[in-house]
């Protein structure tokens, strides 16, 4: 048991500062949709009759390209809720953060409604701190590791819950001393939130693996698909509309979410238009599957099976963000986040109080052990 206490102490201390940062930055991120809506960052479609026909995608892309003729079209997102299409353009083939232009086009009139200028607002900054502390992939993976250390601290915390609570009823909070009160509160708040903290912690760690996992999948999938095209230059998409139509006919049960244009970079294929589809039920709408359509011949398409680890990644996203149950779930998510902050701070306080206390009272060790509520 002494070992478990040590494990709990040190895993907690190591992950503490990062977990506090993640909890604090995560709090506003839970409500990022609502906050962005309040800041009126989003472009809305003008009111028109519901049955107004939609123009072909190629025309919408051309309209966006007219806005920034020198730039590369990287991908096109079809908004599900509104007849809007967002075309992402970049001056470079590999997009540089802060250089990606998102042009919103009305799908019914091909009118350019606005361009989300490349900028970083407060929420972007908070997200970057939360994701990688502005250090890119190494920082992201490091935070993933901290997530694992945090999980170890939770598991060891559950183990050491027993000696503290074996003579107390569940939920007891003693108030003989400030320290005892916070010890009992730490135990209580920690133990009731275990499921949530483990779920959010571990799915956070899985999310940090997004880049390496999708690279792994590409390395396993793409060479075979690109073999027939060996030696061919980067293809120019003949018609995005034809590719999307072909996918819609072949997969009537799925919705088209976005299109990745032919590219030499790691997020696409040099010979295919990648049509990203999603299911139509609330759960399957989170499960994206790519369909690769030959850029020059839309009758040729492949829908490679998505590996289990990418499915795991897709399932872990909502479980980390808490965005799958409407506003009430977001509020519960925020409350659990605040409780976790209290557990973290009280844990740090208990450690400081114990060290300070034991240095002050080195002569009265038994009294201190009794105050801590641990019987050996």
């Amino acid at each position: 048991m002494r070992v478990w206490v040590q494990v709990h102490t040190w895993t907690s201390l190591i992950s503490m500062i990062f977990m506090l940062m993640l909890c604090l930055t995560g709090l506003p991120l839970i409500f990022h949709d609502e906050i962005n809506h309040l800041l009126e960052d989003e472009i809305a479609a003008p009111a028109m009759p519901a049955d107004t026909p939609i123009l072909p995608l190629d025309r919408l892309i051309a309209a966006a390209r007219q806005q920034l003729p020198e730039q590369h079209v990287l991908f096109v997102t079809l908004k599900a809720a509104e007849p809007l299409v967002v075309v992402a353009l970049s001056p470079t083939v590999i997009p540089v953060p802060g250089q990606l232009h998102r042009v919103t086009v009305d799908a019914r009139t091909a009118a350019v409604l606005g361009e989300e200028a490349p900028h970083q607002d407060v929420m972007d900054v908070i997200l970057r701190i939360h994701r990688d502390m502005f250090t890119g992939l190494p920082g992201e993976l490091f935070l993933g590791l901290m997530g694992l250390v945090f999980a170890a601290s939770i598991v060891s915390g559950v183990v050491v819950y027993w000696p503290f609570m074996r003579r107390l009823q569940f939920g007891t909070v003693r108030d003989r001393s400030v320290r005892l009160k916070w010890l009992d509160l730490h135990n209580l708040l920690g133990i009731v939130t275990v499921s949530w903290t483990l779920a959010v912690g571990l799915t956070g760690t899985i999310n940090t693996l997004a880049v390496p996992l999708s690279d792994l999948w590409r390395a396993q999938t793409m060479p075979a698909l690109l073999a027939p095209y060996q030696g061919k230059p980067l293809a120019e998409a003949k018609s995005v509309e034809a590719a999307v139509d072909a996918v819609r006919i072949a997969h009537p049960d799925r919705q088209v979410a976005s299109v990745t244009m032919p590219t030499t970079t790691r997020f696409g294929s040099p010979q295919h238009v990648i049509v990203w589809t999603k299911g139509k039920t609330p759960f399957t709408a989170r499960m994206f599957s790519p369909v690769l359509v030959d850029a020059l011949d839309s009758t040729k398409m492949v829908a490679p099976a998505l590996a289990w680890y990418l499915r795991a990644l897709q399932v872990s996203r909502p479980l980390h963000f808490g965005d799958y149950g409407g506003l009430p779930l977001k509020i519960i998510w925020a409350l659990l986040d605040i409780i976790t902050i209290i557990v973290l701070c009280s844990g740090l306080y208990l450690w400081v109080a114990k060290r300070w206390g034991s240095r002050r009272r080195t002569s009265s060790v038994p009294a201190q052990a009794a105050a801590a509520g641990v019987s050996p």
Binding site: F170, L188, S195, G325, L335, I339
Partner: protein, 86 residues
Amino acid sequence: MSSSATSAGRLPQLSTWQVFRAPLLIGLVAAAGLAFGLFGEGLWDGLCWLGLSVPVLLSLIYGTRWNRRGKAATDGRQADPSDAAL
């Protein structure tokens, strides 16, 4: 004068099961809440909110009770039998 349970000033030692049955139940309810929300909208969302609000409510109920109980808890045995409800 001397009831064996209280003379020691603390509860008799609880078994692992007795210590962990309430946390286990709460953990399962919360985990079920986490999962239910993924299954669909409407009823599933309701069950999700219900399950996940259990840890929040228990934190509030037990976490603020020491305040109100005040002097009732003086010796090592504060927990009255009704605390064992869960």
